[in-house]
């Protein structure tokens, strides 16, 4: 038996198909993954993401610490509440994890990191934090529910009730707002997500997880599983840690160059020396998008060929419900052109090389 989130019983009673996901028993779908996918693109869906790890960092030197810890630069966060997506790197410039960091106050930043990397992340953060006198607090008493889709915010406001909604409704894109809810106490509402749609990620005390989930359901927010979450993020051009990048790849090899803050050049962050060199020389490999032109489905680890020679492999592949074709990310040689072949069970099928996203805000971009 795996670890269970506070919503486990809720999932099972609503007919979810439960699977093991990095040691957690999580819903893969509640019936149809494709329907759940479309609901998020067209209306509003909710995801139990309480397996993810919320880490609060407190201390006078917390900004200095994060300037050193992360490849992106927290000095880009000028306004309280603003969020930043970043990689956390090894000394070799490879990716330990990707995460979102929220600037809450001058001595308080909140980070949300992946569940599969929890222990190594916490070890790394604690190790680096020593020199900065930072208090690292894992907020396991909180749970997180993502409400995503064009109607997600309006429905979440109704589920939160008038008083709380009034406190959070003006939250701008990629910001977090802390609110005091009459019942739940302190909650945090972030206008972030992993679907390519508008919406919130709501952090609340875990004892209220089921009642809040039920309130969202009353507002006709559809429960969605990790299956739909994966196809939504893939369409939206968002990487998955462990599939698209890990400790064998640098951000430059994972289409994450945009998350590296090169300026100011004198900012020393972990992994910088290696990345500077790779940037100057050019990376041999890169992560691209593929759209299958023939019939079939792209899957993780299928090999990519150009002119009969192996040129890389698929890191995340699936059928895209929005595009209606198979799509993928593939790590390939940097000189790849506009087309390639993918080996699917011994057949070489044609694919187009594209720049993700494949779909966003309800529509295909292909």
């Amino acid at each position: 038996m795996g670890k269970r989130t506070p919503l486990y019983d809720m999932h099972v009673s609503h007919g979810a198909k439960m699977v093991d996901f990095g040691g957690w028993d999580m819903p893969i779908n509640y019936g149809s993954q494709i329907q759940e996918h479309h609901v998020v693109r067209n209306d509003a869906g909710m995801f139990d993401v309480s397996h993810m790890t919320i880490v609060d960092l407190n201390g006078d030197k917390v900004r200095d610490f994060l300037r050193y810890l992360l490849a992106n630069n927290v000095d880009r966060l000028k306004d309280k509440g603003k969020a930043l997506y970043s990689c956390m790197l090894t000394e070799q410039g490879t990716v330990i994890d990707d995460l979102i960091v929220y600037y809450v106050d001058d001595n308080f930043f909140r980070m949300v990191v992946n569940s599969s990397t929890r222990e190594k992340d916490l070890d790394w953060i604690n190790k680096q934090a020593k020199d900065f006198d930072i208090t690292v607090t894992v907020r396991d008493e909180l749970t997180m529910i993502a409400v995503q889709g064009p109607n997600a915010r309006a429905k979440a406001h109704r589920a939160l009730g008038e008083d709380t909604a009034a406190q959070v409704k003006d939250t701008a894109v990629f910001f977090i707002t802390f609110a005091n809810d009459n019942t739940m106490g302190e909650i945090a509402v972030a206008r972030t997500g992993y679907t390519g749609e508008d919406g919130y990620e709501i952090m609340l005390p875990k004892e209220y997880a089921s009642t809040f989930w039920a309130k969202l359901a009353e507002q006709e927010v559809t429960p969605c599983g990790l299956g739909a979450r994966d196809t939504l993020r893939l369409e939206a051009g968002m990487n998955l840690y462990g599939s698209d990048m890990d400790e064998t790849t640098t951000p430059l090899e994972a289409a994450l160059t945009w998350t590296i803050a090169w300026e100011p050049a004198d900012r020393d962050f972990i992994g910088r020396a290696v990345l500077d060199k790779q940037r100057e020389k050019g990376a041999d490999r890169k992560l691209v998008g593929l759209v299958l032109e023939d019939k079939g489905v792209l899957r993780n680890h299928q090999k990519v060929f150009v002119d009969g020679l192996e040129a890389g492999e698929i890191t995340s592949g699936s059928f895209s419900p929005t595009v209606g074709k198979a799509i993928a990310f593939a790590r390939v040689t940097s000189n790849i052109g506009d087309t390639c072949k993918v080996d699917i069970r011994g057949k070489q099928l044609s694919a187009k090389v594209v720049k993700p996203p494949f779909a966003r805000s309800g529509k295909s971009c292909i």
Binding site: N29, S32, Q33, T231, G296, V297, S318, F319, A326
Partner: protein
């Protein structure tokens, strides 16, 4: 609980087999199997004239989750593939024992059907999986 029609025969790898009046057999995957696999997005059906031995990979059904082989329940030659699945693979989800059939095969041994597992035996297999 999954629907398991009693007039069909089954395999432990979740194919169903129907006997047609012309002696051919129709092959599909069971309601239980489609439920495990999830939404179908692509089906590779065998071409007419292809010959299989019992247990050969005879077709591929791909759901959002994974690609799965469909195994030939008998020795024989394919007489027809369900071409409609190319545009509507979801028929395997909506009507696994009907419109979602995958191919028809002429068995080498006319008695092959009678040697296959019946509904009660298949139900026992599913029940043991659920434990």
């Amino acid at each position: 609980m999954s629907n398991i029609p009693t007039d069909l025969r089954y395999t432990k790898t979740h194919e169903w087999i129907a006997r047609n009046d012309d002696g051919t057999l129709t092959i599909g995957i069971t309601e239980h199997a489609q439920g495990l696999l999830g939404d179908m997005v692509f089906v590779e059906v065998p071409e007419e004239g292809t010959t299989f031995q019992e247990g050969d990979d005879s077709a591929v059904v791909e759901s959002v989750k994974a690609a799965s082989d469909v195994y030939s329940p008998v020795d024989g030659e394919v007489t027809e593939g369900n071409e409609a699945l190319a545009d509507a693979p979801e028929m395997i989800n909506s009507d696994p024992f009907g419109d979602g059939w995958i191919y028809k095969i002429k068995p080498e041994d006319d008695g092959a059907f009678d040697g296959l597992m019946d509904a009660d035996a298949y139900k026992e297999i599913i029940d043991s999986e659920d434990d």
